[in-house]
Symmetry: C2
Subunit: 189 residues, 2 copies
DNA sequence: GTTGTCTATGGACAAATGTCCTTTTTTCTG
DNA sequence: CAGAAAAAAGGACATTTGTCCATAGACAAC
């Protein structure tokens, strides 16, 4: 459920170390802080050094949809890399977060110059695509208890780390339905 | 609902014309033919020259999920570009389909040599990501009639082109529910 | 024409999920 | 510590959606 990208993490750590070309800057956010805001322009691409964030947006009918939880090595802001469109989601720090930040222009230049980064970036996009596809289909074709089971098996401490409302938004269900499902799981007579 | 990619289409047409470097081969499939099959290895990347395909897979509980309908200029097979994993979905011709085909190795070389293609490819991946995110959230947070309305407004001749069962699978609902929703739309007293 | 297969349509009922509210528990703040 | 605010839990009911049929039309094969 919380996405990671070790390969990208290691490589960014390597090329951003002191003494190397300094395209990246470091920045930190406290829990609850908004790193990107839906509807506002994006000027940089970010890679997570530590901590984790939730990425979500609101729909016209008042709902909230959680795109993803991102942890170490995950990248965001890339959707707006190639044009001037505003961010389509809000990225909010959950735990204390440290980030690598790089301007869109610099990142584009790096993609041209650094073949390995280029490859890693493409790989990252493909992995995101694949993950989204499997999540989307799973959510559509399974019942709430099944979805919960899957989540629990992938992240047993789920409910201690992430608020119930967020879990519900992630699964695209109501809080009521989530509670019912949790009760059903443990409450076998 | 049927995805297109004019920019990529134009560029591939340009670099694959007779006389240019011949990395691409042409191939055609009749309606109903399987271009890729879930679980089987993928050796090439494909770009659609004409016609359209459906891209779907089966879940362990017997359901079918339609990833996408692809038309002119859309690319597929790219998910398996960087590793040896088997195709995670089946790509089936709906109308007669003509394709550009290029081996994974050649495509990777081209991505290194041809900066413009590299950029276009990244753009294609980003566009797919964005589209998937919006589709996923819309499907999760809206009722069946709302989803149908949206589809109808984007593609009025929908039901004449695509079988009802496919539409239902695309929306992640049952055929019964689809019929009910259609009836509800037109059958206002 | 007859049979068989596929698609479309919809009735009747069951099950899943959402809506609306109330109560309890936890966390935060002064 | 008191009080307010947020998160968790769940009752009762309405609505939506799925399941399981049954029927009817279109088309192909023989």
């Amino acid at each position: 459920m919380i996405r990671h990208n070790k390969e990208l993490f290691d490589y960014i750590a390597e090329i951003s170390r002191p003494g190397a070309l300094q395209h990246f800057t470091a920045c930190s956010f406290a829990p609850g802080a908004h790193i990107l805001t839906e509807g506002k322009k994006v000027f940089s691409v970010y890679i997570i050094k530590s901590g984790f964030v939730k990425c979500y947006f609101h729909t016209e009918n008042g709902g909230t949809f959680i795109q993803e939880f991102f942890g170490e090595g995950e990248l965001f802001g890339e959707i707006e890399l190639l044009d001037d469109t505003a961010s389509y989601c809000t990225v909010e720090a959950i735990a204390q977060v440290d980030l690598y930040k790089i301007s869109k222009q610099d990142f584009l230049l790096l993609l041209e110059k650094d073949e390995k980064l280029n490859r890693l970036f493409i790989k990252t996009l493909i992995t995101k695509l694949k993950y989204k596809a499997s999540r989307h289909s799973y959510n559509q074709l399974h019942t709430i208890p099944e979805k919960l089971d899957r989540l629990k098996s992938r992240m047993p401490d789920l409910t201690e780390v992430i608020p119930k409302q967020d879990i519900a938004d992630y699964l695209g269900i109501t809080l009521r339905a989530l509670n019912r499902a949790i009760k059903g799981m443990t409450g076998a007579v």
